[in-house]
C-alpha cells in the first residue's frame, strides 16, 4: 500500500490532559522544520483543539474528505481537504476534524484508515488522538509506525491510567519497541518519582518533557508552535530532541529565533528553567 511509505506517529495517552495536542503540534512543526513533508491529523473528532491552538480556520474537514471518498474513490485526492499551517518559513498540512458533533459521530473508521493510507506523499503523519481505546483509535494504532504514548507522573490517578493503558497496549499485542513512553510535565522533585513510574510500568521512558506551562499558554495564545512562541523554553528544546529521536538525527539545541519572539515577552521565565534543571536530566540526552 502506498501509504506505508510514510512514518505514522500516533500521539496517544490514556489519561486526559497529558499534552497530546501540544505534543502533536510541536512534533509536526519540528518535523516540518527539519524538511520533512508532514501532515497533522486531528482525530479528536468531537472536540479537537489543533485548529484552535494554531489559530486556524478551515473550510474543509475530515467529514468532507470522507464524503468525497465515499462518493468517488478513484478521483479522491486528500490534498483537497488539507489546511496548511505556515509560520516563519515552516509549513505543514493539517486535516481538521468535523465541524459538527453529529458529523463526528458519523465518521467511519475504515474511511479514516483509507484517508490516512492516501497520505503517501508525506514523510510523516502525526495523529492527535483521544484518551480512550475506541475502534478508531485502535485502527490508528494498528496503522502507526510508533506510538508516542504520553503520561504524567504528577497525579496518581493519571499514573494508574498510564499503567493500565500501557498494560492494555501490551495485552493487545502492540510491540514493546513500537511504544515510546513519553513523560510529560517531568519534574525532578515530583511527589512521584519517574523512576518509580518506570518500575511500575516495567519499562524506561523514551523521552521526558519538562513542565513549562507558561510557554504552552503563550504558544496557544499566539497560535504558534513553541519554536516560534517560546524558543528558549526547555520544553521547546526537549521537543527538538524528541524530533531528533524520531528522525534518527541529532539535532543541536536551537538558538533563539529572535525575529519570532515579541519584544515584550518575559524571557526570565524561560531561563529560570535552565537553572532549575538537574544534572542528570534524562530527557536532555539524544542517543544515536
Amino acid at each position: 500500500m502506498e501509504g506505508r511509505r510514510s512514518i505514522v506517529i500516533a500521539v496517544f495517552s490514556t489519561s486526559a490532559g497529558s499534552g497530546k495536542t501540544v505534543t502533536a503540534i510541536n512534533l509536526a512543526a519540528g518535523l516540518a522544520k527539519e524538511g520533512y513533508q508532514t501532515c497533522l491529523v486531528d482525530l479528536d473528532l468531537q472536540f479537537g483543539d489543533v485548529m484552535g491552538y494554531l489559530d486556524m480556520v478551515g473550510d474543509v474537514t475530515l467529514a468532507d474528505a470522507q464524503a468525497a471518498l465515499m462518493r468517488d474513490e478513484a478521483s479522491f485526492r486528500i490534498e483537497d481537504y488539507l489546511a496548511e499551517y505556515s509560520c516563519g518559513g515552516v509549513s505543514f498540512s493539517v486535516l481538521p476534524p468535523p465541524k459538527e458533533i453529529n458529523d463526528a459521530y458519523l465518521v467511519d473508521v475504515d474511511a479514516v484508515a483509507e484517508i490516512i493510507s492516501r497520505m503517501g506523499g508525506f514523510n510523516f503523519i502525526v495523529l492527535d488522538m483521544t484518551a480512550v481505546f475506541s475502534t478508531l483509535n485502535l485502527a490508528m494504532l494498528d496503522m502507526s509506525t510508533v506510538i508516542n504514548f504520553m503520561g504524567r507522573s504528577d497525579f496518581l490517578p493519571s499514573v494508574k491510567n498510564y499503567k493500565v493503558g500501557y498494560d492494555t497496549l501490551l495485552r493487545f499485542e502492540y510491540e514493546e519497541r513500537k511504544i515510546c513512553l513519553v513523560e510529560n510535565r517531568a519534574e525532578e522533585n515530583d511527589l512521584i518519582n519517574y523512576r518509580d513510574v518506570e518500575r511500575l510500568l516495567g519499562a524506561k521512558f523514551y523521552h521526558r518533557l519538562p513542565v513549562d506551562s507558561q510557554a504552552v499558554t503563550r504558544s496557544i495564545r499566539m497560535g504558534r508552535p513553541l519554536m516560534f512562541s517560546a524558543p528558549l523554553s526547555p520544553l521547546t528544546q526537549s521537543y527538538w530532541q524528541l524530533v531528533g529521536r524520531y528522525t534518527n538525527r541529532s539535532i543541536a539545541p536551537r538558538q533563539v529565533q529572535e525575529q519570532e519572539v515579541p519584544a515584550e515577552e518575559e524571557k526570565h521565565s524561560g531561563f529560570s528553567w535552565f537553572f532549575k534543571r538537574g544534572k542528570n536530566h534524562a530527557e536532555g540526552q539524544v542517543k544515536g
Binding site: 472536540f47 483543539d49 491552538y53 458533533i101 480512550v132
Partner: protein, 368 residues
Amino acid sequence: MKYRAILVERDSVMLPHLAGALKADADFDLAATYHDAEQALGQSSVFRPNLFLIDVDSPKGLKLLPDFIDFFPNADFLGMMEHWKADTAEKVIQAGALGSIVKPFRTRDILKAMEIYGRRGQKKPTRTMAFFSPKGHSGRTTLASVMALELARKSGESVALIDADLQFGDVSMFFDVVPQHNVVEASHDIRLLNPATLEAYFHPVGQGVWVMGGPVRPEHAELVEADRLIEVVRMAGSLFRYVLVDLPAGFNPISLALAEFADTDILVSMINSGQEVRHMKRSMKMFQMWDAYGKKIYPLFSGVKRCTPEQKKKIEEEFGRSVTKILPEESHITAITGSGRLLKDLPEDMPYVRAVDDMVGEIIAGRR
C-alpha cells in the same frame, strides 16, 4: 412483635403463601389479609397496622397507594411485585412508600428491605444526576465526588456515585477504595438482581456515600450496554435518594444514553487553554434538545482563576448563556483527590467546596 402488618394480594395462590411466612415469624403480627385493595383501604384502620405490604402489580393497588399513605401516615409501606419493574418501583417511591420487594419473599427479606430503604432518606423520588464533560481533565470526577459527599452531609440522605467512565474511571481512587464489584458486573447481572442484592455491588465509603467503581481492564467497558447500565441506575434509585453518574468524556453511546436518562445533567469544563468555552457551547447544542422536556441542564466551569462575579459574566458573554457556577482553581483539591484523601481531608471552608456546597444547598431545597 415489631410489625402489625396488613397484606394486600390479589392472587389467591400467592396470598396464603406470603401470609404463612408472616405468621411464622414472631417479629410480625399479621393483622389482616385482603385480595382487594379498596376493601383494605376501607377496613384496615381498626387493626392499627404499622406496616402494609401491597401488591403493586395490580393497577388498583398502585393507584390507591397514595390514599393508603394519606390514611396511615405513621405506617410503613412496601410494594410487592412478581418481577422487578423499574417503572412501578419508581411510582411506588413517588407515592411515598419505602420501596418495593419481589415476591415471593421471606420475612428477613422484608426486614432487609426496610433497613436499606429506611437508610435511603426521604420518601421522595430519586434525583439522578449525570456529570458530563466534553473532554477529559475537566474536573468532572472531582466535582461529582465532592458533590456526593456534600449532598450526603447536608441532606443526611444516602448518595451513590457510579463510575460510568468505563475505561479510565478514577472514582475508586479518589476515595481510596478497592470495591469488590464493579459497574460491568452490575450491568451484566442486573436482570437477576433486586435492590437488596444490588446493594452488594456498591462499596460504602462512609459518610453516607456509596460508590460503584469502574472495571479493572479498559476492554471490559465494551461489555456494558447502555440500557443495562440504565437499569442499574434506576434500581439504585430504590437504594439511594441521590444517584450520581460520572460519565466518560465526550459524546458516546454510554454518555448520551445516561445523560438523556438522568433528570439533571451537570456539564463541566475546566478553563485552561481558552478553547473550553467553545467546546461547552458545542456540547450545549446536544443538550438543548432535552432541555425542552423539563430536564435540568447546568453548565459549570472549573479551574477558574480569579473567581469573581465579573469573571463569571465574562465567561457567560463568551458562552452566550448563563453559567450555573464557576469553580475556583484549587491545587489543594487536586492534591486531595490525587492521593485518595477526599473522605479525610476535605476542608469545608475551601472556596471550591463552598461553591459546590452552594449548589448542593439549592439542589436539596429543590431550587435546582
